[in-house]
């Protein structure tokens, strides 16, 4: 019996993986060869998707990108035994894209069957929880502090401090919430993880619950991710079935319940207090802090709000030790970062490496340069609120402090490349436009400022008092940065300011 892997990852599906899987099943039936088809996650090299793998005694052999038309020739070439074919790449683990990666959080993504608790256990799953259950709760929190793990959602706040705050609140109803509202353009690590290894997120949330004394968890998932929704619900049901959720989980006498709540298409709900409002069933308007969610969060109770990748990194830390995790990385950026290469890039996808790689290595060694073959003029890092970094700064190291040093931010680790045809004044305008569309409307600098920002840029592009209006735009950006209630209005000016700083030549009257 041959085992064939075809990703069910929605990115792979968007390139025809479902049709390829069906064609493989049909061809196997026609030839009367027994085939076990496993629908794994994506390994994250999207240039090779749909990436079909077969299990052989020499390990898994990769073929890709496979189309339906390739399926018959692949069978004819004996691909079930790893036979030679134009699309063959040899052992998957030896493909240069994967070989140098340091996959801790993404160790299982693309490898295992995401719906299978048995697969999860076989690959070291729930070792972290087992260790955590044998520890004092304060020791679990201490381990997360020692690991140096910082919030991977974008704010990079030390995770252990959040956990300690909730841990130290008096006993009573507490909540673990997972922010899976991955709305930043250029980011898809959360989606890949939820589709490819949802049990690691479930285990991470369970450990968090044990550590701080919370018995209920919610995953706040964006409505734009229907495939991740299905994958999470399947995995949660499997975890309940295997008694890793619910009362007396893993025979420990402890309880943790978990459910998915769907967002409804509001970018602002990725902001943690807005997410809590939405989880409570209200408009996603930002709350004024203090009080911090760790003290007064969901339904007024102490609440952990962590990103998907943050929580999914916890099982590895607990299983392998906080020091082992902290040994990766540089300076105050400890551990690994799942980086997402996106936009106009030849080999886009997911690269998990210890912090400290240079942007240039990522864009050219992994990314292979632009998809269009033209020079990369700039990249935007950290989503729609992140700065544009010009090519002259591509030697910067990708870690929290180095990027802050050049006025950029890492955010959720998404890097969007643009070639030299990009019009940076248009991108600056878009940043303001997006802020206007997505502003929750609670504070004036964001609600009004973003619309005024679009208008001012339009005047500059129309050649109306360009210099005066550029000064006005700079002033407006300053007001929004200083005066907004949350990161949306407070950071939307970053791409605008960076475009003005590095690409001033684009801010001039445009031919009609």
């Amino acid at each position: 019996m041959s085992t064939v892997y075809v990703p069910r990852d929605s990115g792979a599906q968007s390139l025809g993986a479902e049709e390829v899987a069906q064609a493989i099943t049909a061809e196997a039936r026609r030839l009367n060869v027994p085939v076990t088809l496993v629908r794994n996650g994506s390994r994250g090299a999207y240039a090779l998707e749909p990436l079909v793998e077969v299990a052989t005694p020499q390990g898994r052999i990769a073929y890709g990108p496979v189309t339906v038309a390739d399926v018959r020739p692949l069978f004819a070439a004996g691909f079930l035994a790893g036979g030679a074919h134009a699309l063959a790449h040899g052992p998957t683990a030896e493909i240069p894209w994967f070989k140098g990666q340091q996959r801790l959080t993404f160790a299982r993504v693309g490898i295992v069957d995401p719906a299978s608790v048995a697969d999860y256990l076989k690959s070291g799953g729930y070792e972290g929880l087992t260790r955590a259950l044998a520890m004092e709760t304060s020791a679990i929190v201490a381990a997360i502090l020692t690991s140096g793990l910082r919030g991977r959602g974008g704010a990079a706040f030390p995770t252990g401090i959040k956990w300690k705050t909730v841990h130290d609140q008096p006993a009573g109803q507490k909540y673990i919430t997972c922010n899976a509202d991955e709305g930043d353009s250029g980011t898809f690590a959360d989606r890949m993880l939820m589709e490819g290894d949802p049990l690691s997120l479930i285990e991470g949330m369970t450990i968090a619950g044990i550590a701080v004394g919370a018995t209920q968890g919610y995953i706040y998932l964006r409505a734009e991710y229907p495939d991740a929704h299905r994958a999470l619900n399947t995995a949660i049901a499997a975890a309940y079935q295997a008694r890793y959720l619910g009362d007396d989980l893993a025979g420990s006498g402890r309880r943790f319940d978990l459910e998915v709540r769907l967002g409804a298409g509001a970018y602002i709900c990725g902001e943690e207090t807005s997410m809590l409002e939405s989880l409570e069933g209200r408009r996603g308007e930002v709350r004024v802090r203090p009080p911090l969610p760790a003290i007064k969060g969901l339904f007024g109770r102490p609440t952990i709000v962590n990103n998907v990748i943050t929580l999914a990194s916890v099982p590895w830390i607990m299983a392998h030790g906080a020091e082992a995790y902290a040994n990766y990385g540089t300076g105050k950026s400890r551990g690994t970062l799942p980086i997402q290469l996106a936009g106009n890039i030849k080999n886009g996808g997911l690269v998990e490496r210890a912090f400290g790689l240079s942007l240039r290595e990522l864009l050219y060694d992994y990314g292979g340069g632009s998809a269009t073959g033209r020079p990369i003029r700039t990249v935007q890092i950290g989503g729609p609120l992140g700065a544009y970094v010009p090519a002259a700064q591509f030697d910067v190291a990708v870690d929290y402090e180095s990027l802050a040093g050049i006025g950029a931010l890492l955010g959720h680790g998404g890097i969007v490349a643009f070639d030299d045809t990009v019009d940076m004044a248009r991108m600056a305008r878009y940043a303001m436009e997006f802020c206007a569309i997505e502003s929750c409307g609670k504070c004036t600098p964001c609600r009004i400022g973003s619309t005024r920002g679009v208008e001012v840029i339009d005047r500059i592009l129309a050649g109306v008092e360009a210099e005066r209006n550029v000064r006005l735009l700079e002033d407006l950006c300053e007001t929004m940065v200083q005066g907004s209630l949350c990161g949306l209005g407070g950071m939307a000016p970053f791409p605008v300011q960076s475009a003005l700083k590095h690409f001033r030549e684009d801010f001039r009257a445009q031919p009609k």
Binding site: S14, A223, G265, R282, F299, N344, I345, G441
Partner: protein
Amino acid sequence: MIAQGKDIGQAAARRGSRATAPDKPGDPAGTYTCCLMKTLDAAQEAAVRRIVAELKGRPGPLIEVLHAIQQDLGYVPEAAVAPVAEGLNLSRAEVHGVVTFYHHFRRAPAGAHTVSLCQAEACQSMGALALAEHARRRLGVGFHETTPDGRFTLEPIYCLGNCACSPAAMIDGKLHGRLTPARFDELIAAQAKSP
């Protein structure tokens, strides 16, 4: 770039009237015509009452209820606001406020097929604006509009998490990547044949 110019105007109007009222197509003041609007038909009414009864015991149930209504009826009718408010012990203003806050909730039925084109940065870097222009011409409608034959509704969407395979789109919940105008036309032609 005409596209963006149009969109910002729509964005401003979006909170209040991004969908037109079902019985007064094109009425930009759709928000305020609630008292003139049809009541729920018997099946809709039964569905709304069943959903509210089913979910009202859950913590913070309103958004769950609205998702279930939209799943069932295809949109959230204005006339559903009152029974939902009553069932959840909320004011009608609170329910209306939530329905209109979230882009995902429709206040009028969509076409038979919903085509959502990603317009965010990663997709822009790979020609999403040109693709949107092509889609408008191909379907003959703008964003937030439905073709006159009721077949297609065209929507902008801001990130589908498929940014390594830009430009991306979602058609009836299925994700598509590395779209070209030609591939877009194929997908539309395939949908046009299905019910």
